[in-house]
Amino acid sequence: MIATAPPRVAPITVRGVGKVYPARRGSFVALHDVSFSVAPGEFCAIIGPSGCGKTTLLHILAGLFPASTGTVEIPPQEPGRLVTALIFQGISTLPWLTVLQNTEYGLRHMRVSPAERRTRAVEQLRRVGLDRFVDAFPHQLSEGMRQRVSIARALATDPDVLLMDEPFANLDEQNRLLLQDELLRLWQENRQTVLFVTHSLDEAIRLSDRVLVMTSAPGRIKAEVPVRLARPREFRSVRQDPEYGALSAKLWEALRDEVLRARQT
């Protein structure tokens, strides 16, 4: 591994986390006894069948709602920084705010002065190549550009941990590949801890150091597959590496039964 920046000391430890939703008849168990940890500066992917509680897990880590059982350990909050920054799938920006206002959105709740907010937001927009679009509204951008705005918004809060919820799911294949490159480049520069939820085997292998496979609902961690491909991960070298095929087969093996089971419910 080539580390271009020292990793942030930001491990995540999840112990026995469960989430139960009240349902019309009784209750629905979304997560059951999920335990794992992510090392500081590690890029960790989570794959699982749809409806397995991946999003629920990320929302718990982002503090949107508490877990029903178990504990989550994340580093303490420091002033001027966010511990976890969540990047959403689908609707990722507020349509009534400009690109700049969207990027500043986290900072405005962090007691950062307006001048510093602007500097930090513009800097991140430059990193994702959108500094020419500061005054545009989201509807004037493509889906991929909107997703880059939401990445800039996350990075502007200088987070210890990036939580990404299928951020590229709504993009076409070619744009997805470009954004993956961009994400890897950004990550290589800062080395945040990343937890990246995806349903794409290829995306998990291409991006991460380690893949966690979840079961169908109620979601648990079923398997853990390390990805030891060299970085930086250029598209061609990754696809031509014999290890890629082996990893792909291994992950699908772990996932296949779960996808079949999810289809039956």
Partner: protein, 252 residues
Amino acid sequence: MNGPSYRWLAVISPLGLLLVWEILSRTGVADPRFFPPPSTIIRTLADMVRSGELPFHIGVSLRRILIGFVLGSVPAVLLGLAMGLARPLRALLMPIVAAIYPIPKIAIYPLIIFYLGIGEASKVTIVALSIFFLVLLNTMAGVLGLDRAYFNIARAYGAGARSIFTTVAMPGAMPQIFTGLKLAMGFALIVIVGAELLGSDAGIGFLIWRSYQIFAIEAMYVGLLVTAMLGWLATIALDWLERLAMPWRPTN
């Protein structure tokens, strides 16, 4: 190539109607005492503008509408946003709102006069009251219809209750708020003319009623025409305000 333009049909229908009216009235097929020819009405309108009578009555009604509109819609938007955001508040107030909303507000005008007298206060109040629930319900529906994703974005990036109110609920519900305001403008016109018919010594409604009583039918028609024009102009003004308030909306 573009298809034929049908825009001229939109001009033809009102002009045609006026022309038929003019002919029927002049030939005596329609009684000119009740249906004076449009040309006469227009002449009366010009006279009333020149004498200052019409501008005076329009000014009186317009002032009542504007003050009542602001007094009714501002609290309605604020409470509507709060009710859209807070479930307990909704549960608490919804039964009252649902019960009062369908009461024709003009029906409680006697009560309002009883408490506030026949002056400006009662006119402004009836306008405010008649639009309040309409704007409130539209605003609340606007918040309730917002995608949860917006609230998740806000909360994930540290927004508290106040920030969610101003950065998510208010701008997000803005399209629906304007739907409410446009409906409300129509209601405000209806109710102010009604209230002025019932008890007033100035305003467009008063003009219509007095003209009827002294059998100045042309002047009565002028009042009706002015009411229609005001409604049309108000719609244009609100459309303009809507574009100004929501620069973020895609234009087609």
